[in-house]
């Protein structure tokens, strides 16, 4: 049953001569979109007319377009009609089958429109008053609304870069700014991120019960306890992937545009966020999730603005009815807002640093003496370390909690600090289900970010790092080695401590957990000496540092990490560590530290195994 709310929005009300036809098409094809996908007797949809398409009409009408100008001087009636049709049909390929690949759904939807039009009995052909040119334009807009990522379309021709998408595509009654319309649709689609899209809660409940079933199946697959129905497994996997998108939708309650400055705000659902904080989520984690959505939206907006407004020879005209100037996040939960501001600043700082790097290169290209602008650019803070994947982060958090791998007590970190808890990273790397995911993520990241024409050496620090490095290196068919931390050298033969790196273009360093970077620095200093490398050469050689955990702490300032943190990628940072200076530590008896990880020796030496 089609919900008639969509008729209230200005982009529909102003259809004028096409209004009746459009309603007919909605009543016919909207039902198609509202067709449900059945999961185990319950229903599920994410790309339906009543929620998703209606939301887009609302966003176009109330957020993106100026209601006074858009329909009088802005869009022509044909343009508005084609835009509304594009909204109606843009996800038609997704509606009926969860197994449709998201990577090429725009292509499939465009093709479906052609197929429908080719059926001479269809309402689209008989009643829509569209000719072949109009269909071409409609298809081009639908195709451009989402980049085709299955490899069939080169990057430079995806989305709004499609050369067939122009701003002067001819119709019987004048030309249509198809690129602009595609831009509006893309942005509106991206902005449909609020809980309005969720529909009723039954759908989500059903998805959550599917997730439980999937996790059971997944455990069976990993442990090979029994055979599973492969088709069902793949289907459930897709539902679970969709569920992660749904969980993001809860974070935002609305999208608005302030008329005084034409800034669009993604307004968070503060009640929901507070509930999440109360049930154990951290502000950092929530901020990250919010920014993940925001980042996608702002990137999309910038591209659209560049390609459809700034590039347009009618820039001023377009801006008059498509007035959006910026997109921001609005959150009233204090702790999360502060975290958002902090993480946003870091993103900006990283971009500033990158710009300064370019400046430095220009400087040296001119043959002039170079000032090290890079190190003087400031704000190279710990937050430049990067999370590899939210999925990995969530998995690690879940498994650490489930398996009680965070040990509470008194532990020695290094010569200077004690800590109040410890992650049993040895257990982490010995547990197949965890280490498989870590290795998969690390390998994927290396493939995506390293120049594989170069010769890399994968180096693991300490036992846990060595174990991970061996798996990663074997998967990448790279040479690997390991570093024995300086504190353990006494227990190893000199040959075991040797490491030659000169013959390699780059080093990928893998560790289990980073707290102060101290052990890494010591190890690298050692390599520098034994290989007779200077500091800059060493810095250049280290291309990536991977760590399972990145444990923020209260005492050590990571701003002096000499650029190491900028090359650091980690799996999870949900376990900050509380440090105490050793000289202030109370857990000392008869001159010996009572740390749980002290070696039981007759002497007073406090050798330790530790997180790094």
């Amino acid at each position: 049953m089609i919900n008639q709310d969509y008729q209230k929005f200005s982009c529909i009300k102003n259809l004028v001569e096409y209004k009746d036809i459009f309603h007919e098409l909605v009543n016919f094809y909207g039902e198609d979109l509202n067709d449900k996908i059945v999961i185990d007797g319950s229903v599920y949809t994410l790309h339906d007319f009543n929620n998703h398409c209606t939301d887009i009409y609302k966003i176009i009408s109330e957020v993106l377009l100026d209601s006074k100008r858009a329909y009088s001087d802005g869009l022509s009636s044909k343009e508005l009609y084609l835009l509304d049709l594009a909204v109606l049909f843009h996800d038609i390929s997704m509606s009926c089958d969860i197994m449709v690949e998201r990577t090429n759904h725009s292509q499939k939807s465009a093709q479906k429109v052609q197929d429908i039009y080719d059926d001479t009995e269809s309402p689209l052909y008989k009643k829509a008053q569209l000719n072949q040119n109009d269909i071409k334009i409609l298809k081009a807009i639908i195709l451009a609304h989402s980049d085709v990522k299955d490899g069939s379309v080169p990057v430079e021709k995806r989305g709004l870069n499609d050369p067939t998408l122009r701003d002067d595509m001819p119709t019987r009654i004048g030309s249509v700014r198809a690129k602009l319309l595609a831009g509006i649709l893309r942005l509106a689609d991206e902005l449909d991120i609020t809980s309005d899209r969720l529909g009723n809660t039954n759908i989500e409940k059903n998805l959550k019960s599917v997730r439980e079933k999937f996790l059971d199946m997944d455990m069976q697959v990993r442990s090979k306890e029994q055979e599973v129905n492969q088709d069902k497994y793949e289907k459930y996997k897709k539902y679970v992937e969709s569920l992660s998108h749904w969980e993001f939708l809860h974070l935002f309650s609305q999208v608005t545009r302030e008329s005084q400055d034409d800034i669009v705000y993604l307004v968070t659902d503060d009640q929901h966020i507070q509930n999440l904080l109360d049930s154990g989520s951290t502000s950092a984690e929530l901020a990250r999730k919010i920014l993940k959505v925001y980042d996608k939206v702002i990137k999309e907006w910038r591209e659209i603005k560049h390609k459809t407004i700034d590039d347009s020879h009618q820039k001023l005209d377009v801006k008059s009815f498509f007035p959006v100037t910026d997109i921001r996040v609005k959150c009233s939960v204090d702790s999360v807002r502060k975290e958002l501001d902090r993480q946003m600043d870091n993103i900006k700082n990283v971009k500033e640093v990158s710009m300064n790097q370019n400046t430095e290169k220009d400087f040296s290209d001119n043959g002039n003496a170079t000032e090290n602008k890079f190190s003087n650019s400031g704000n190279q803070s710990e937050q430049c370390v990067q999370l590899i994947s939210d999925k990995l982060s969530n998995m690690l958090k879940r498994e650490i909690k489930r398996r009680h791998l965070l040990r509470v007590g008194h532990f020695l970190l290094d010569d200077n600090f004690c800590a109040r808890d410890w992650i049993d990273t040895k257990e982490v790397v010995e547990t197949k289900v965890i280490v498989d995911d870590i290795v998969e993520c690390f390998i994927k990241h290396i493939k995506d970010t390293c120049d594989l024409q170069k010769k890399y050496l994968v180096v693991g620090l300490d036992l846990e790092g060595a174990l991970l490095a061996s798996r990663v290196a074997m998967g990448m068919k790279m040479p690997f080695s390991y570093i024995i931390p300086v504190r353990d050298r006494l227990n190893s033969s000199p040959k075991e401590t040797e490491l030659s790196v000169v013959e390699y273009d780059g080093i990928i360093l893998i560790v289990d957990a980073i707290v102060t970077f101290d052990t890494i620095k010591k190890a690298l200093n050692d390599i520098m000496k034994s290989n007779q490398l200077g500091m800059e050469q060493m810095q250049e050689k280290i291309t990536h540092i991977y760590s399972i955990f990145y444990r923020k702490n209260n005492l050590v300032n990571l701003e002096e990490m000499e650029g190491l943190h900028r090359k650091t990628f980690y799996g999870n940072d949900d376990f900050p560590i509380e440090l105490f200076k050793k000289e202030e530590c109370r857990y000392i008896k008869e001159g010996q530290c009572l740390a749980l990880n002290s070696r039981l020796r007759g002497n007073n030496s406090n050798e330790m195994h530790s997180n790094i």
Binding site: I446, L463, L467
Partner: protein
């Protein structure tokens, strides 16, 4: 390409090489299987390799534990140099080769075949000499020889073996193995094959040295088995004994993985520890042993790739530093 060369021959174990070349870069999970499939990609690399071999040399292909899709070997029709096919064990493989290479000649027992050459006595002798596993074994010996570091002679500095407190005249630098992907792939493949062929029942792999831990880790992935690392045994007291009781499950069977076993001191300590936790070590596997005729509890299930003594590698041990120095001077 892993090959073993003699004066007139270049010998290529296909299973070991196909295992390496079949795996695309960026694979996060690699599994061992009893039979390795030769695909188009590997065959193309193989044919390319043939072009680099001296014209006068015969190519010997060891087909043990391999298989391929029909018609693939037709591409070998264009090769004009003599090729010997060894260890054609399965009937299916035999039929495929026969169909793809109509001019091939099989031996009486159908286990060997030759292309572009006649089956004379010399060829028969070669085929019988290089029966199953010999070629692979020679490659493992070659890899291990490259790991051995001689001790500096002036001044003489014997290698101290931390686990037993003895001294040796050579150091088996297993760490160096990992710098050569083809080599560590081959070793991992060889050890996995040993374990699978032994049909030992086991629930997991256990190690007590760093290099052993790395090997065990790779084997654990190839064989999809749990791996436990107990580091710091022998004269040094492990800090992880508390965890040990949690990790080693009662009545479970483990295979001990080592890199190089000299006297077996670490293994003995581990066996005692495992036994104390009411679990069992049903076998031991590693790259090389000093000598395999030592008597120990896992003797019947000791799986190794290279025995230094058998290969005439002059590895020596002694209890005192002066003794080993004397031994080394006598050697000179």
């Amino acid at each position: 390409m892993q090959v073993y060369e003699e004066q007139d021959f270049v010998m290529i174990p296909l299973a070991m090489n196909a295992f390496f070349y079949n795996i695309p870069v960026g694979t996060d999970k690699i599994r061992y299987s009893n039979s390795v499939s030769i695909g188009e990609k590997f065959l193309a690399i193989l044919v390319q390799y043939f072009d680099k071999v001296d014209e006068g040399k015969y190519i010997i292909l060891d087909l043990q534990d391999t298989d391929y899709a029909f018609h693939l070997f037709q591409k070998l029709k264009t090769i004009t140099r003599p090729i010997l096919f060894l260890n054609i064990i399965s009937e299916t493989l035999h039929d495929k080769i026969k169909e793809d290479l109509p001019t091939i000649q099989f031996s009486a027992e159908q286990r060997y075949a030759v292309l572009n050459i006649s089956f004379d006595d010399t060829i028969k002798e070669i085929c019988e000499k290089y029966s199953s596993s010999v070629i692979s074994h020679n490659i493992y010996v070659k890899i291990v020889r490259n790991l051995i570091d001689d001790i500096p002679q002036n001044p003489v500095e014997p290698q101290k073996l931390d686990s037993s407190g003895l001294y040796s005249n050579m150091y088996v630098n297993v760490k160096r193995l990992f710098k050569y992907p083809e080599n560590y792939y081959s070793i991992a493949f060889g050890l996995a094959k040993k374990i699978v062929d032994s049909k030992i029942e086991y629930d997991g792999l256990i190690s007590s040295s760093k290099n052993g831990a790395i090997l065990a880790n790779l084997l654990g992935m190839l064989l999809n088995k749990k791996v436990i690392h107990i580091i710091g045994l022998g004269p040094k007291y492990s800090m992880n004994t508390g965890n040990l009781q949690k990790e080693i499950k009662k009545r479970k069977n483990y295979i001990y993985v080592f890199d190089f076993r000299c006297t077996g001191t670490e293994m003995k300590a581990l066996l005692a520890l495992i036994s104390a936790n009411e679990a069992y070590v049903t076998g031991a596997t590693g790259i090389a042993v000093y000598k395999s005729d030592q008597i120990d509890i896992v003797n019947n299930n000791l799986m190794y790739l290279v025995d230094l003594k058998t290969e005439n590698i002059p590895y020596k041990i002694a209890g005192e530093k002066e003794d080993i120095i004397t031994l080394m001077s006598k050697q000179q």
